[in-house]
Symmetry: D2
Subunit: 282 residues, 4 copies
């Protein structure tokens, strides 16, 4: 936090550091001379936050990556993953309250040949109470899902994006624009499937943020099942103005996809953070 | 959710039901004729939400309590605990995004002689970056805590309150006022201890909400330790404008207290929900 | 851990301390002279573990309770809740692996007039693949649950018990006996309801442990629903030797009850730990 | 569960399915004819469990992978991740209790050109109360960690391994051997670093399991800090036979590494499950 002026500023981060490289000797010999303790890595995060400040997280991550490369010749890739928890200001001076659960994220991969940044958001919850259907899907012998002509669409959104280059970025502005693009696309779009909504959301990001080269979206489908039919109460209960749904945490589906600008097709292909973003977490 | 008008409304609840009474026979005989399945209790929650609507949660809980008393002569106390998750509107019509993590709560205890309501809030996170000290406390042989003249004060607030009577309550308005009272008291008060802050918060609620008879507050103390001294980096790192702290989840302290209006001292003493609110969770 | 002999011993505890009493002055005056910091309370737990050892947990809790009473005249009740995580020995000397998820618990309430101990267990998962039915229960207009003549019975068991007196207790032996009593009763009993099973479990504890005065049981009912009928696949899939079930975490029922020895009916009525054990967690 | 014989058998699984392939059309057109609902994918898991049984999990995963390839020409890779929760038998017939927290895992990647299996274990907790040091490590300006000549070594182990081929595997036997190899290596080895312990564990697996080609290990370092020095109590408290430690959940280090048989160096390089196992989870 910055307590210089009367109006304080608060930054709340969780930081992960992963160093990889030519450490085989340490595993084989039992000699530790090349091993920077994870405790020192943790200290470096706090020290650089004190020395240079932690915002924007993308640049703080780049500084951390450079720091680990500089001090450890064995390191080939220093990856720094940062998660920013949002707080809202109370009053004018030094009070805050925890804001919504969506978190801004950044993953920096710093190597000897350069650094890349994978920016993003986790846990953005969006919900439409109408304007969504799911019909005409494939039916196999195990399919029992009825077609839905008016369904609730609720999704927990994870997104990751990369830029054409790191030059001249206003990270805060680009994050705000990308988030607003995804949100407005979700709100505006009549959805025939979460897949179709995903594409619209990704395309909107590319349209609104000209320097973003590609965006990966992972949309958890938080199913909302009509309670009365689910529990056999249709004939028993007269449903008035409201409609009652069961929000089902488990099991649930996840729809993923990457939207790429034509002229940047190959980008990020070998970025380990990007590979992780597109992979499955097991 | 209410989808009657163009502008939909969304209510997101988690509901717990606890029935207690003269059920000894069922335990002894293995005959189940007096046992309403928990599955039917769950169905009743959805059915009454459909038939009468789920808001405000205090009145929905009262309706559920009456329902279980009416249908089950063995029940002596039907307790209904409701947790409301907040969503913010996106646009003008049918879109929403999950709001902050604080949840409005209500616990209804319905008996043959009447019903009581214990209203409240869970998980309200408040933080002051200055305006707090902790000094002059008791020191025993195990005390190593240094005195703090300028500390970060962060707290996760749980509150429960009861009214003089249930008549003529605008539950939404009273919830908003009580929440704003606690928040503004936390923001305004120079804190010499979390205990002192707690009392100010409770008194503010009683002042601003004339029909609330007593309020119980449980303030989790989310310790913020200066990172550089905690990790032995004071001499090494020059801290600039910002100050860096470690937010410590475990272990942590919890400060509790009940603030009561003088003329309502005995109230709620036998309310099982109140007893639970004042007790420890094990 | 005890590393005196070649064969080390390991004890893994989580400890909660709650002090209550005549602290009103500290809340009112903002003077902290009567407040022992929660940090010092935490230190006392580690210090007494070092000085006297942490086992058995019931006696460690009593020592902690006495410590807080002795040093703080304002304290009227010092409550200490201990949770013991189990580890199994690997080999003969100093290696261990985390054991099952059930945890032994103890809650000590130490006052100026004496101390009480509420011993117990949390998270004991028991499951019978047959030998259970649920029929003849009450049906109201919202009841849709079919009668079950051969159901899976799975329960997460929480138990709390108190003794006639604290004299001459072999806490380890009594814990082992009480646990085995509950387990064998669950295994042996043909269940017509979880309520009936609960009573048999409680009575078995009182029979096998002559010094236990009363036992409270809380049985979470982990419903196992036949997958094929739940998902409309009965006609489609031929189920062979096996039966496939969906273990449903939410929503679920909880059955509670207290079994008391006739001649000890009033015991524990005012013990705050017991009140908490019998109450609902909100 | 298998309830054919008097002695029932219980299998407790969590299953994840991920289908990828030529689905671009569905995202673009809003037509859903190529989309098999996630609901049908879930149904297929239950249906195949009923029709063919769910054990061993590696073969159940292969059957599921083949099923999704067969029915969906657009699918290029069907990945199935299975997690098996262990239960111990109570008595001789149909009763069980939840066993330890370690889970057996399997990840199947089924493509048109063949299938691969990545077997493994999650959450295996191992702890040595002595026989571990950490000295001679790199020190930079932020390093404050003291050298440790007798430290507690505790680790939560995640492992993944692949075989030379899928032919003739006794999956249950190989899992038991690999697990025992890792455990005994952890117990037997005097540790100069977790890196060195990791290599010994991996080599032991390759020695004991001749058909395993490579193994990836991820060892979370659950730091155990001496409580008295951590909290400034060394001079105050006399520590007897026992030693008291604080098990620190956060922050913590994770040490990773892959051990490969020389003649199988290139194997698994393109297996998406393997890439995920070696990557970081963000």
């Amino acid at each position: 936090m910055d307590r210089t002026d009367d109006q304080h500023r608060l930054t709340d981060l969780t930081v992960h550091v992963a160093l990889s490289g030519a450490f085989e000797g340490a595993y084989r010999s039992g000699e530790n001379t090349t091993l920077l303790p994870t405790d020192s890595q943790k200290n470096a995060v706090y020290a650089l936050a004190a020395e240079r400040g932690p915002e924007p997280v993308e640049e703080f991550g780049l500084a951390l990556g450079r720091h680990f490369l500089a001090g450890n010749p064995e390191v080939e890739c220093a990856q720094v993953h940062l998660v920013q928890h949002a707080w809202n200001r109370l009053g004018e001076r030094h009070s805050f309250t925890a804001a919504e659960s969506a978190r801004r994220t950044a993953t920096v991969s710093a190597t000897r040949s350069g650094a890349s940044v994978c920016a993003g958001i986790d846990g953005l919850m969006l919900l439409n109470t109408t304007g969504s259907e799911f019909r005409g899907f494939r039916r196999d012998r195990y399919t029992t899902l009825p077609e839905a002509s008016d369904r609730i669409l609720a999704s927990r959104v994870r997104a990751r994006w990369v830029r054409r280059s790191l030059d001249g970025t206003d990270w805060d502005d680009e994050y705000a624009t990308a988030r607003e693009s995804m949100t407005s696309a979700f709100v505006d779009t009549y959805s025939t499937s979460l897949q179709q909504t995903l594409l619209v959301m990704g395309e909107r990001v590319l349209t609104d943020c000209p320097d973003i080269a590609r965006v990966h979206l992972s949309l958890s489908n938080v199913h909302h099942l009509p309670a009365l039919s689910l529990y056999g109460l249709q004939g028993v209960v007269e449903e008035k103005a409201q409609r009652v749904y069961v929000a089902s945490a488990q099991p649930h589906g996840v729809i993923e996809g990457t939207v790429t600008r034509n002229d940047t097709d190959g980008m990020a292909a070998s970025d380990p953070a990007w590979t992780a973003a597109e992979g499955w977490p097991w």
